[in-house]
């Protein structure tokens, strides 16, 4: 077998993504993608787990790249990796939201994303091969547990006092929603994490934050302002109105939607993204040389303003 056209794809700060063509004996050609941990990088998720999730999602008929093989022995390529089918298409959200070429995708995606999300939430999170998934503690709701975990993270890393984030923490702590269901949660479901073509959705990527929890967490995260890339008139990923998306999710067999609970998760999502930016700024100040990490510290104010507006009522 020969490897041709090996090239590194953009995207993935904590993960390397390489595309290549495998030329099989006999001449058949397979377009593949290798995903691996950067050698020497501190990694908090395992390639084996992501491989198992993608395999389960593919077996259930969801639009994900078909996974081919997984190698956990770092001796082979310097760090663990897995290989999956190459899915052609675009991942730049700004192109999706602005280019004329993607107008049909903009029309199709609300329904396709809702169907994909309903499918993810219908996967069997109790299947033995998914036993690795983080689960909420027995003594707390997913909402209360996630809030407590992120508040702790924030307090451990923040360099500056953030009264706007304190206001949001109080608002969230006052009424965490009780879950209507406990399912697999994708954990990072947004338009920057899918492959699309002019016709619409081709694959859902970036499963490494998957866990068991409240499915409405994924709906709230999809509404976070940062993932609208400026198209703020359409709150769901810059694509459509919340009500339209909830209806499409229900039609696709999704779990019951309580708009107030999704709202809670949207506020939580904005807080979570703010905390992630605080953590990135902290990494930079602690010595990780990256102009991107440095700049993220100054994005916290965007989420602070959004949090003030969402919690005004």
């Amino acid at each position: 077998m020969a490897i041709e056209h090996l090239r590194r794809l953009a995207g993935g700060a904590s993960r390397e993504i390489w595309a290549f063509d495998a030329v099989l004996p006999g001449g058949a050609l397979e377009r593949l993608v290798l995903r691996r941990d950067p050698p020497g990088h501190q990694v908090h998720s395992s390639r084996r787990d992501e491989f198992a999730l993608l395999a389960a999602a593919h077996a259930a008929g969801l639009r994900v790249p078909r996974v081919r093989w997984c190698e956990e022995d770092a001796a082979v390529l310097g760090s663990p990796f897995f290989v999956m089918d190459f899915v052609a298409g675009e991942t730049l959200a700004r192109r999706l939201l602005r280019d004329a070429e993607y107008a049909p995708a903009r029309a199709a995606l609300p329904g396709q994303l809702a169907t994909a999300l309903a499918g993810i939430h219908a996967l069997d999170a109790r299947a033995p091969e998914l036993a690795f998934l983080p689960r909420p503690p027995a003594d707390a709701t997913p909402a209360a547990a996630e809030l407590a975990r992120h508040e702790q993270l924030y307090r451990a890393v923040t360099l500056d006092p953030h009264p706007a984030l304190e206001l949001a923490l109080r608002w969230l702590a006052a009424a965490p929603p009780a879950p209507h269901a406990e399912t697999l949660v994708h954990g990072d479901f947004r338009i920057g994490n899918v492959i699309f073509g002019p016709e619409g959705l081709r694959a859902v990527l970036d499963w490494e934050l998957a866990h068991v929890g409240d499915p409405l967490e994924d709906l709230g995260w999809l509404c976070v302002r940062a993932w609208r890339f400026g198209a703020d008139a359409r709150p769901v990923g810059g694509l459509c109105q919340r009500e339209e998306f909830f209806a499409a999710y229900a039609r696709a067999g999704g779990t019951p939607v309580d708009p107030a609970a999704v709202r809670w998760w949207e506020v939580f999502g904005n807080l979570k993204w703010a905390i992630i930016c605080v953590m990135q700024a902290r990494s930079f100040v602690d010595g990780v040389r990256s102009v991107e990490l440095a700049s993220l510290g100054r994005r916290v104010a965007e989420m602070e303003l959004e949090l003030l507006e969402l919690t005004e009522a």
């Binding site: 923490l169 102009v291 991107e292 303003l305």
Partner: protein, 131 residues
Amino acid sequence: MQDRPSVRELLDAVRAFLEEDVVPALEGPRQFHARVAANVLAIVGRELAGEEASLLAEWQRLALVLGEDASAPPARLEALRAAVRDATAALGERIRRGDADAEPFRAAARSHVRATVEDKLRVANPRFVRS
């Protein structure tokens, strides 16, 4: 006193170089990082232009919200920065204790926090603040 070009002019020269020469010559992640770098320089320029006035207004608002004497702000910039930081930490503590759950402190705290967040955005990303 330093000679011209001024700090602002020097920053603009480097930013223009990044935007006009470097960004088009790169691709992929490095092009993205060059764009981010140019944006960071723009942030620095805006911060230099307005920091002292903005800090002074913030210090006065904080003193009012926290019920402290607002008549004598620290004269030196470094001391002013430290005073704003301490007062902001104190406000954060009071919010955490629940003082801003009810009026009248709620409205006073939120109005100050909003003004401060908008000040930060006028430096970090002016287009984000709805007029």
